[in-house]
Symmetry: none
Subunit: 157 residues, 2 copies
DNA sequence: TACTTTGACTTTCTTTGACTTTCACTTACT
DNA sequence: AGTAAGTGAAAGTCAAAGAAAGTCAAAGTA
């Protein structure tokens, strides 16, 4: 007996497949309606199947005209995915700077982009406990790399 | 389906686009009439999409012959530092996206930079407790803006 | 035991409408 | 003629209603 969550997962993936772009927008209630389930079930599916480590980014808005946008980041099969898995769950500031400098050296990002990325990874500004900083930094770096991956891949192969 | 506020926003922006000057004058009631909405809806759009932080100034007059003047003003380093202080110590994701869109509109950043910035502010990826997200987001946004403003300064004449 | 499903409650954003304030123009009074 | 009061035409304010999505924990299931 297929789990509901799996059906919803497949459905969303096929929507993305059919779409011209690498993302789709859904209405949570509509989707819940199609599958005749609680709206919060959709959130569960998104959290468990469409999170960053699965290569997806979610954006949403509440209120009238609200929506959920599911963006696919094809980070799986190229060097970028290796980068991302290399980073792991935590990373020091100096290591993360090295990654960024490498991208810069290969002209994959601009000086300003590098500066922007570094600014956010700065040890001093991260407002969390000492031991959590490398964890937070790893997530921030990964999400930025994922964001860039689309663009970078197009140029690099 | 599409938010009424967004339609009105787009309409106003295209009016400014077409205008010879960097401003337009509207009649609140006429505009409300075009969109078949309550006049105060116009105020809502102005407050949320055409405020100072978004790079616009509003001037108006009541009474007979009244009008609303919407002025698009060039954003500068001064504007940026004002924005930084306006942000305060917490901010929602949608507000922060609006600010980034403003930078983009005024050609202070590229599409890729905008995407990069938005990615780290994403509600779903910030790995901290719910109530801390707006706080962390404010810090990240401000540090990136500061970095940009630095960078712009170097370049600028 | 871990994963899934459900539902009550919360938060965010938008839309509407009743009421208020301001302004230009007219009318009335000295 | 000059001022004061009245009138109607704007725009402003604010709170309530509406429309989504988010959260969290309890209950169900494999």
């Amino acid at each position: 007996m297929a789990r509901l969550s799996d059906l919803i997962e497949d459905f969303i993936k096929s929507l993305i497949e059919e779409a011209d772009e690498e993302y789709i927008e859904i209405k949570r209630n509509e989707l819940a309606n199609i599958f005749n389930c609680a709206p919060s079930q959709i959130n569960y599916v998104l959290e468990t199947r469409f999170n960053l480590s699965n290569g997806y980014i979610i954006e949403s808005r509440r209120g009238g005209g609200g929506y959920i946008k599911i963006i696919k980041r094809p980070v799986s099969k190229d060097w970028m995915s290796k980068l991302i898995s290399d980073i792991g769950d935590n990373i020091t500031e100096s290591k993360s700077r090295l990654y960024i400098d490498t991208l810069l050296e290969h002209n994959l990002i601009t000086e300003r982009e590098a500066a922007l990325m570094k600014s956010v990874l700065n040890e001093k500004i991260l407002p969390v406990a000492q031991y959590e900083k490398p964890i937070l930094r790893a997530i921030l770096l990964k999400v930025m790399l994922a964001e860039l991956s689309n663009n970078l891949m197009k140029r690099s192969d």
